[in-house]
């Protein structure tokens, strides 16, 4: 067997999430069964006890997110995972975690909706994820993996960003990257410099000051101060942590933009366009919050036409339009969630041709 083969493992996206979480020292998992993410709790149920961790199947999605709140408040790396209907139920707890400045990782393997919807792939929970999702006005870190390798890497990153910025972090996946198997390298946990968790509720000990984790702010000006502090943190996050991938954008006359699994299909469509001699590039945001606004703005100084592609009727396209220069056009091509099948590279290539003509 070659060396290259020895380093790689062949694994499902959902399993990669759980594997990475354990490597990142996640020691508590709380969840409730829902398709298409059940491989995540199943992996934890099997592996976490071996590491001395706690796996608990909660009585409900609400129970699970609040157990995450409790474990995070107690200073232990913890996570939960679900899909649309369950993520909706978790919003209460996510809002409380955001209000309490608690870290914690939530994985959303998107399925179609609204309501019970279907179990097929969708990207229609972009708004819910990137706008906070619950009440009160807050944001959470949102990372969008486009491969099984990224399911692994971004899960680990989610734990770090969540700890550094003291806010919940979501891995916004979908049933394609969740169910897909790919050969990946199981990287060791990065040696990130993390702040000491002085705020942790662990039993105050003798002589130490009392720690309180709470989101209630009734004092004069307290609530306002909290919001300004969070705004500053979101700005810092945007400045330091925005991540994206550009493919052949240097000379592009049209830039396709897409996130998650759709960006994979788009990437091959862009390759088809290049083979046909068209100057087309790809811009893929990896962080959806913070959205890489400056990168889009910079691209739009040179390239005046963007084609946003989503597996929804159009959500991220709003952020793209808000980010590009005023004289840049943003076209949209999308499929409603639950259309029954995924767009193919050939289909997206047709869309590129249609819009490219507009440039030429």
């Amino acid at each position: 067997m070659s060396t290259a083969a020895a380093e790689k493992i062949f694994i499902k996206g959902n399993e990669a999430v759980a594997m990475a979480a354990i490597e990142a020292d996640c020691r508590c998992y709380f969840g409730y069964p829902i398709t298409p993410q059940s491989e995540i709790p199943e992996y934890f149920a099997r592996e976490l006890p071996k590491m001395g961790g706690e796996f608990l199947q909660a009585e409900s999605e609400i129970g699970a997110i609040n157990m995450l709140l409790g474990a995070s408040a107690a200073g232990v790396r913890a996570m939960t995972s679900s899909s649309g209907p369950g993520i909706s139920l978790k919003q209460e707890g996510i809002s409380y975690m955001a209000g309490s400045e608690l870290p914690g990782v939530i994985v959303d393997v998107m399925r179609s909706g609204p309501g019970l919807g279907g179990i097929d792939a969708s990207q229609a929970d972009y708004f819910q994820a990137t706008r906070g999702g619950g009440h009160g006005g807050y944001r959470i870190v949102v990372l969008a993996p486009a491969s099984v390798q990224e399911m692994y890497d971004l899960t680990m990153l989610a734990f770090d960003l969540s700890d550094i910025y003291r806010m919940p972090a979501m891995v916004l996946a979908d049933s394609v990257v969740g169910q897909m198997k790919e050969s990946i390298i199981a990287n060791p946990r990065p040696q990130t410099l993390l702040p000491e968790k002085k705020w942790v509720v662990r039993g105050r000990g003798e002589g130490e000051a009392q720690n309180v984790v709470k989101s209630l702010h009734l004092g004069d000006g307290e609530m306002e101060a909290f919001h300004w502090q969070m705004q500053a943190r979101y700005q810092e996050l945007a400045d330091k942590e925005s991540r994206w991938e550009e493919v052949q954008t240097d000379d592009a006359e049209l830039i396709v933009t897409a996130f998650g699994s759709t960006s994979r299909i788009a990437k091959t469509a862009v390759a088809l366009a290049r083979e046909a001699g068209m100057k087309v590039g790809l811009m893929r945001p990896i962080t959806l919050f913070p959205f890489p606004q400056k990168a889009y703005a910079a691209l739009s100084e040179r390239c005046k036409l963007f084609l946003d592609i989503e597996l929804s009727t159009g959500q991220m396209v709003d952020d793209v339009r808000l980010s590009v220069a005023r004289d840049a056009d943003v076209a949209f091509y999308g499929r409603p969630p639950g259309a029954g099948s995924l767009p193919t590279p050939e289909e997206l290539f047709e869309q590129i041709k249609k819009n490219y003509r507009a440039v030429a």
Binding site: M1, F10, E182, S183, I265, G340, S341, L342, T344, P345
Partner: protein
């Protein structure tokens, strides 16, 4: 080089195992692999399908609209997917269960392999997926047969490793049939 193969058939024909096997073989050869169990309304009603993409570099889209090679193991998948094979591509058909009479697919090479019959001759109809994999590597040369043998150890649970020699024979018979 980037290869893609689409496999479809009834649930129970070992379609997903065949996809896994080709994936492990490609990994064995140091390639990047993307295995995607196909999604959508089609999967209801007892059909199983998957797409495998492997490449030295980036695998790109896990979804393939016009596969370069399709392994179609029953009539339903032949009727539905044969015409999607791209121009210059290959459609390897299980002629034990598929009637291709009257179907005209210009620009697509149709390879008929009586997979059920061969599998039964080899001792077990369940090895139809192995026959298909053998035919695939014979027609495409995309993977070495030794890689497939190595892949069997990875793709099959330990308790089934005693079946590996029989499976290897089934693959060889599939390759032979594709040659003829």
């Amino acid at each position: 080089m980037r290869y893609d193969v689409f496999i479809a058939g009834y649930g129970g024909q070992g379609v997903l195992l065949a996809g896994n096997l080709l994936s492990y073989a490609a990994i064995h050869e140091g390639k990047n692999v993307s295995f995607f169990p196909a999604y959508g309304v089609e999967k209801r009603g007892g059909s199983a399908m998957c797409t495998v993409v492997f490449a030295d570099g980036d695998t790109g889209s896990p979804v393939v609209g016009n596969p370069s090679v399709s392994l179609l193991l029953n009539q339903l998948s032949f009727d539905k997917y044969a015409a999607k094979v791209k121009q210059g591509g290959i459609c390897i058909v299980n002629s034990s269960l598929v009637d291709v009479a009257g179907v005209d697919l210009p620009g697509i090479e149709i390879v008929l392999v009586p997979m059920n019959q061969i599998a039964i001759e080899m001792g077990d109809v369940r090895m139809v997926n192995m026959v298909a994999c053998g035919a695939y590597i014979e027609k495409t040369g995309a993977l070495k047969s030794t890689s497939l043998e190595a892949a069997l150890k990875k793709a099959l649970p330990e308790r089934n490793h005693k079946l590996i020699p029989a499976n290897v024979k089934a693959m060889e018979a599939g390759a032979q049939a594709a040659r003829d």
